[in-house]
Amino acid sequence: MNQTLTIGQAPAFVDDAAGAVPVRASGLRVDFKGQPGVLAGLDWTLAPGQVVGLLGRNGAGKTTLLETLLGLREPQGGEVRLFGQPALMPDDALRARLGYVPQHSALFEDFEAGDLLRYFRSFYPRWNDTKVDGLMSRWDIPRERRVGQLSQGQQQRLSIIRALAHEPDLLLLDEPVASLDPAGRRDFLRELVDQVLDRGTTVLFSTHILSDLERVAFNIAFLSRGRIALHASQDALLDEIRLLSGPIGRLQAAVDTHGGQVLSRRDLGEQPRWLVRFASGRLPESDAALRCEALNLEDLFLEMTQ
């Protein structure tokens, strides 16, 4: 698939001029030495208030994409605009609207946790002390302890607090929960839900923990071969996409009669398998020769990225 396939709740067209579009990437190209096309002409738009889960196999370039979107990495080609402004030259006002939780929190290890937050506080015009205090005690982070002496999980939570404290309009999270236990993850997800409810924050996060993504992400995007291969609402993915298996003649007939769009096909072996989207909502029935299976997000991900 070379083009982005958008399904269901596709990002609505929003005029860029007013700076309403949180993220608009066009023609992004990033090459690494010996690895060209990590991002290969990637086009993508995030609409305000969307909560998007970014999926891709290991090494697909998710971190590279997030860094490039934030303007932390200069692409060899293309451009990113955040709220209408070039991401590479953010002014203070734009910076104040962005929140980022990197995969490996790079916090100053010699600072005490409390001092670190006070330090960051000085950069932002807005800072929600109540939220910070609440999260610090709820998430059990001792203010007097040096950051380097906090556990991995505590550092990650501190990094999340730091990213939420100034109430950003756009929040990017790169594997934010990797070091959190299930209870910590759930609590973090609730915090995200609160952000979305209270502020309509636009959120983009990558994670390998699909159950978290299923809960919180309304939209899912697949990064594959340097492009966004698919951006769709989860509901549409589960409702409209089916894995068909059976003789090729039967597969073709099912696709034709139900107006299906074939997303991927594997015709090798005894049992060809096609991944098909039925946008009409009319689905073929399974019978002795044809199997029509609904997939959960994990299986869908595996089928899409094979």
């Binding site: 839900v193 409810l197 809960r215 309304f218 509901d235 959960n296």
Partner: protein
């Protein structure tokens, strides 16, 4: 009413979360566990309790309303719709199982299982545990 008692979700299911929510409410209304006038938690409460995207909950609530399960009242919590005075009769309730059983029956036929064996499995499941989460 405690949100956790009305709704729960399964992740990793091919059934989207919004449909899980609608079907749970449908079953609670059909069984009479929820009756006319009873308040339903708000989108906010459900989203927070389950840590689920509010748009997903909102979509489920819209469908519940369209189906006549609940009624929206201006500025007040939604309630179970007036027509649901008491539990549906058993005949109606058992019909709610039809889609799941049809699917199971189709799979049993594909597996070429003898009906007695399938029925005894179903019976064992029924007796083992009242309700799956």
């Amino acid at each position: 009413m405690d949100t956790d008692l009305i709704f729960s979700i399964n992740t990793g299911s091919p059934e989207p979360i919004y449909r899980q929510l609608v079907e749970q409410l449908r079953r609670r209304v059909a069984s009479g566990q929820l009756v006319a006038g009873q308040e339903i938690p708000s989108v906010r409460e459900v989203a927070q309790a389950l840590a689920v995207n509010p748009m997903t909950v909102s979509k489920a609530f819209g469908l519940m309303e369209a189906e006549g399960l609940v009624e929206r009242r201006r500025g007040l919590p939604m309630v179970v719709a007036a027509q649901h005075q008491k539990a549906m009769r058993t005949r109606g309730r058992v019909e709610l199982l039809r889609p799941a059983l049809e699917k199971a029956a189709a799979e049993a036929r594909q597996l070429e299982l003898p009906p007695e064996q399938v029925l005894s499995l179903f019976k064992a499941l029924l007796e083992d545990k009242g309700e799956t989460r």
